[in-house]
C-alpha cells in the first residue's frame, strides 16, 4: 500500500510537469483572435451524426465539406484541417462537441451542426467562444430568432416550409383533414406541429397526432390507429428511413388512397430505394440544385473519392460543400499575416461570413440576410412518379 502511494506521487508529479508544458492561450481582442504559428493548421469543424441511426446524413455532408477543402486546401499558405465530430443527431452530444470545440483555440469556424436539435444548444456556446457557424441543413426557424451573431445557414427554415406546405395541402391538393405523424425528435416534431398549426389556421382539421419510435421496423399499429380517424393525408416530420417504412405499411393498415407528405428530411434516393413501389404518389420537400458545370464536377469528384453516387446517402452534400466554401472564402478575406504566423480575428470572420453576397455556390446564388439566413433558393415540393422524384404539379 505504501509502495503504491509512492507510485501515485511520482506519477502525479510527472503529469504536473508535462501539463505545465501545455500552452495556456490568451488573447487581448474583443472576441479574441486565433493565432497560428508557422506549420500549424487552421482547424475547421464539421459536426453531424456520423454514427448511429442517421449516420448517412452526417457522413454524406461531411464528404461535401471534405471536397470543399480539397478544392481549396489552404488559406494564405496555412493548411486547413477538418475535424469531423459525431453527435448522432442529438442535442446533448451537440452541446458536448460545441464545448469541445470552444475549448480548442485553433478552431475558428464550424460547418454545422447538421440537425436542428443539436444546433440550437450549440449556438450560445459558440457565441461565447467566437466561433462562426454555417449550417448546411439545420432548418428550425427559432435558430435565427435567437439573435446570434455567429449562426448562419444555407438551409431554408421550417416556418417557411410549414407555411408553404400548409398552403399547398389546403389550396393545391385540396385536402381538409390531415393526420400528423412525427418521430418524436426535435426537428420532426417541431416541423409537423408547425405545419398542423398553419393548416388549422387556414381552416382545415388535424384529426390526430401520432409519434412513432424511430428505428423500429413495424409501425402498423400506430398507422391503424391513424386510419381509424379517417384522414385524407398524412404529414410526416422525420427522416427518410422511417418514412420509407411508413409508406410501405400504410396500405396494409387501411390507409389505401391516403396521401403521404414528407418534409425535407424524407427526400432523397435512399427513401426511394427503401420503399420501392410503395413510394409512388408520395410527396416531399426539397430545394433542387441547379444544373451547372460546377455541380457536374462535384458529382464526379464525389463518386471518384467515395464510390457512392452523389445523392445516394442523402441529398445535402452540396449544402455541406457550399457552407465550407463560404467559410474558407471568408477566412481568406480576413486572415492577417503577422511575421511568420497567421492571425484570424474572430468577430471580423463572423461579419465577413454574414456579409456574403451573391456567392455562386452549388446550391445557387447565396446572399446572407442580417439574421444569418443564406438560403439560395425557395423550397419546392417534389412528388414520386414512376420511381423518380419530379417537381410536384401546381406550384
Amino acid at each position: 500500500m505504501r509502495k503504491r502511494a509512492a507510485l501515485i506521487v511520482v506519477s502525479m508529479a510527472v503529469i504536473l510537469v508535462l501539463s505545465g508544458c501545455a500552452a495556456k492561450y490568451e488573447c487581448a481582442d474583443a472576441w479574441g483572435c486565433a493565432e497560428f504559428e508557422k506549420g500549424q493548421t487552421i482547424k475547421v469543424g464539421y459536426v453531424g451524426p456520423t454514427t448511429g441511426d442517421y449516420s448517412a446524413f452526417g457522413i454524406d455532408i461531411s464528404r461535401g465539406a471534405e471536397l470543399a477543402i480539397k478544392d481549396q486546401p489552404e488559406v494564405k499558405g496555412f493548411e486547413i484541417e477538418l475535424l469531423i465530430e459525431d453527435t448522432q443527431g442529438t442535442p446533448e452530444q451537440g452541446a458536448a462537441v460545441a464545448n469541445k470545440f470552444a475549448a480548442d483555440p485553433r478552431v475558428v469556424a464550424v460547418d454545422g451542426h447538421t440537425f436542428s436539435g443539436s444546433t440550437e444548444v450549440a449556438i450560445p456556446i459558440y457565441g461565447d467562444a467566437g466561433i462562426v457557424m454555417m449550417s448546411p441543413s439545420a432548418t428550425d426557424p427559432d435558430l435565427t430568432d435567437l439573435g446570434s451573431e455567429v449562426f448562419n445557414r444555407v438551409a431554408f427554415h421550417d416556418r417557411m416550409q410549414g407555411e408553404f406546405a400548409a398552403k399547398y395541402l389546403y389550396n393545391t391538393l385540396g385536402v381538409r383533414k390531415i393526420a400528423i405523424m412525427h418521430d418524436g425528435g426535435a426537428y420532426g416534431q417541431g416541423l409537423a406541429e408547425m405545419t398542423a398549426g398553419f393548416f388549422v389556421g387556414l381552416g382545415g382539421t388535424a384529426v390526430g397526432t401520432e409519434a412513432i419510435t424511430p428505428g423500429e421496423a413495424d409501425y402498423s399499429a400506430p398507422l391503424a390507429a391513424i386510419s381509424a380517424l379517417g384522414p385524407e393525408l398524412i404529414y410526416f416530420g422525420g427522416y427518410d428511413a422511417d418514412a420509407a417504412v411508413l409508406v410501405t405499411q400504410m396500405a396494409g393498415a387501411g390507409l389505401e388512397g391516403v396521401l403521404f407528405f414528407g418534409c425535407d428530411g424524407t427526400y432523397g434516393v435512399n427513401y426511394l430505394d427503401l420503399s420501392g413501389d410503395a413510394a409512388d404518389g408520395t410527396f416531399s420537400t426539397y430545394v433542387p440544385i441547379p444544373e451547372s458545370g460546377a455541380f457536374t464536377t462535384f458529382k464526379a469528384d464525389y463518386e471518384a473519392a467515395y464510390g457512392d453516387p452523389q445523392g445516394k446517402l442523402s441529398p445535402f452534400s452540396p449544402h455541406g460543400y457550399d457552407s465550407m466554401a463560404i467559410l474558407i472564402k471568408a477566412m481568406d478575406e480576413v486572415a492577417v499575416e503577422s511575421g511568420s504566423s497567421l492571425i484570424i480575428p474572430r468577430k471580423a470572420l463572423a461579419d465577413a461570413v454574414r456579409a456574403t453576397k451573391d456567392y455562386q455556390g452549388l446550391t445557387g446564388s447565396i446572399t446572407c440576410s442580417d439574421t444569418g439566413e443564406c438560403a439560395a433558393a425557395a423550397i419546392q415540393f417534389m412528388k414520386v412518379v414512376g420511381g423518380e422524384w419530379v417537381v410536384a404539379p401546381g406550384q
Binding site: A225, T248, G254, K312
Partner: protein, 399 residues
C-alpha cells in the same frame, strides 16, 4: 417493510465503529465489537409488523392497477369509441405477428440463459449478421435473375437464403463463444455480461465498418412480397394479414416445438439439462461439458440466423443496428415468460407484441409510450410472479 431511518444511517456513516444509541430504545446487546463481525442487533424486534405491511401492500397495488386498466378500457371502448372492430382486429393481427418476431429472437436468449445463466447480449447482433448474409444471398439470386423465374426457383432461393443466414449466425455464435465466453466460464456473473456487451458493440460496429451504415432492403421473391397477403373483411373494411407475417408466426411456433422436443426428449437435450442443473456433477457423470455448451451456442446461432432472415423477409430493412432494440425487447419477453422456459419465451413474446400493439390503443395513451407500457407491465408481472408467467424451468440456483 421499514422505511430507512436516515439518522441511524447517517450516524453509522460518519462514525463507523462507535456504538450508536438505537432510537427505538432497545438495549444494545454487548457483543464482540470486532471490526469484521456483524451480529444480530440489526434484526427488527417486531418483524411481524413490517411483514404485514409488505403483505398488504402488494395486493393493494395489484388491485389499484387492475382498477386503473379497467377504467381506461371502459373509457376507450364504451365512452369514446374511436376505434371500430376492424381497427381492433388490425391491432390484434399486428400484435400477434410482432409477438411471433419477438418470440423467434427470445427463444435463443432463453436457451442460452437456461443452460448457462448468462444474458447473451450479443444474440441480437448475431441475428443481424444472419440477416445480412440473407440479404447478400437474395441479392445474388435476384441479380442472377433466378429469384422470380418460377415458383420452384423462388422456394429454392428462400431456402438457400435461410441456410446462408443460419450458417453465418452459427459460425458467428461459435466464434463468439470460443473467444468471449469460454475463458470466462468460471468467472462471477458480471464478467461474462460485460464481455457480452463488449462483443455486441464490436459486432455492431464491425458490421457498420464493413457493410456501411446505409440501410438495405430485402428483395423478396414476388410470392411473398412485403405487405402483401390475405384480406380479411371485418365490418366492411379489409384487414390485411401479410404472408410474411404468417410465415413468421408459423416459423416461431415450429422452432419452439423443435427446441422443446430437442431439450426435453433427446439425449443431447438431457445432457443440456444436466449441465444446467450442475456443471460439476454433470462432468462427473461423464458429460462433456465443453461440447454441450458449444452445441448450445450452435443451436442458439441457428435460431438467431432463422430469426434474422425472417426479420429481413418480413420487416424488410437490415442495417448494422437492427439487432439492438429487438434484442432488448426479446430479452424482456423471455423474462416475462419465465427465463429458461421455452414455451415461456413464446408466451412472453406474444404478450409483449400484443401489449405493444393493443396496449396503447386500449388504454388511450399515445403509441410513443408503448415501451413505457411494456416495461411497466414487466415490472408488474415480476412483482406478482417473480419467476415470470410460466415460471423458471430449472431449480432455483444460487447466483
Amino acid at each position: 417493510m421499514t422505511v430507512v431511518r436516515p439518522c441511524f444511517a447517517a450516524a453509522s456513516l460518519l462514525c463507523p465503529d462507535r456504538p450508536v444509541a438505537d432510537p427505538r430504545g432497545q438495549p444494545r446487546t454487548r457483543v464482540l465489537r470486532s471490526r469484521y463481525l456483524i451480529m444480530a442487533d440489526d434484526a427488527p424486534s417486531r418483524p411481524t409488523r413490517s411483514f404485514n405491511l409488505g403483505r398488504f401492500l402488494t395486493p393493494a397495488i395489484g388491485v389499484l392497477v387492475v382498477a386503473f386498466i379497467l377504467w381506461r378500457l371502459w373509457g376507450v371502448l364504451f365512452v369514446e369509441r374511436i376505434y371500430g372492430p376492424d381497427t381492433w382486429v388490425r391491432f390484434a393481427v399486428s400484435g400477434v405477428i410482432l409477438g411471433g418476431v419477438y418470440a423467434l429472437i427470445a427463444l435463443g436468449y432463453t436457451l442460452v440463459y437456461g443452460i448457462l445463466f448468462m444474458i447473451n447480449f450479443a444474440h441480437g447482433d448475431v441475428m443481424m449478421l444472419g440477416a445480412f448474409a440473407g440479404y447478400f444471398t437474395l441479392e445474388a439470386f435476384s441479380s442472377a435473375g433466378l429469384l422470380n423465374k418460377s415458383l420452384a426457383w423462388s422456394i429454392v432461393s428462400v431456402a438457400v437464403t435461410f441456410v446462408a443466414g443460419i450458417l453465418t449466425s452459427t459460425v458467428a455464435a461459435v466464434i463468439l463463444e470460443r473467444i468471449a465466453y469460454r475463458p470466462l466460464r468460471k468467472a462471477p456473473r458480471l464478467v461474462p455480461l460485460i464481455s457480452a456487451i463488449g462483443a455486441s458493440l464490436f459486432l455492431e460496429n464491425m458490421a457498420q465498418l464493413v457493410f456501411g451504415s446505409a440501410r438495405r432492403r430485402y428483395t423478396n421473391p414476388e410470392m411473398i412480397q412485403h405487405n402483401v397477403g390475405w384480406n380479411l373483411t371485418v365490418s366492411g373494411e379489409q384487414v390485411l394479414i401479410t404472408y410474411t407475417g404468417v410465415l413468421t408466426f408459423v416459423l416461431s411456433i415450429l422452432l419452439m416445438i423443435g427446441l422443446y422436443v430437442l431439450v426435453q426428449r433427446t439425449k443431447a437435450g438431457k445432457a443440456m439439462r444436466a449441465v444446467a442443473e450442475d456443471k460439476e456433477i454433470a462432468a462427473l457423470m461423464g458429460i462433456d461439458v465443453d461440447r454441450v455448451i458449444g452445441s448450445t451456442f450452435v443451436i442458439s446461432g441457428v435460431l438467431a440466423g432463422a430469426a434474422g432472415v425472417m426479420w429481413g423477409l418480413h420487416m424488410g430493412i437490415v442495417y448494422h443496428y437492427v439487432g439492438f432494440i429487438p434484442g432488448i425487447k426479446a430479452f424482456t419477453a423471455a423474462v416475462m415468460g419465465g427465463i429458461g422456459n421455452i414455451p415461456g419465451a413464446m408466451l412472453g413474446g406474444l404478450a409483449l407484441g400484443l401489449m405493444e400493439a393493443l396496449g396503447p390503443a386500449a388504454l388511450g395513451i399515445p403509441f410513443q409510450l408503448k415501451d413505457v407500457l411494456a416495461f411497466s407491465i414487466l415490472v408488474l408481472v415480476l412483482v406478482f410472479r417473480p419467476t415470470g408467467l410460466l415460471g423458471e424451468v430449472l431449480s432455483e440456483k444460487k447466483m
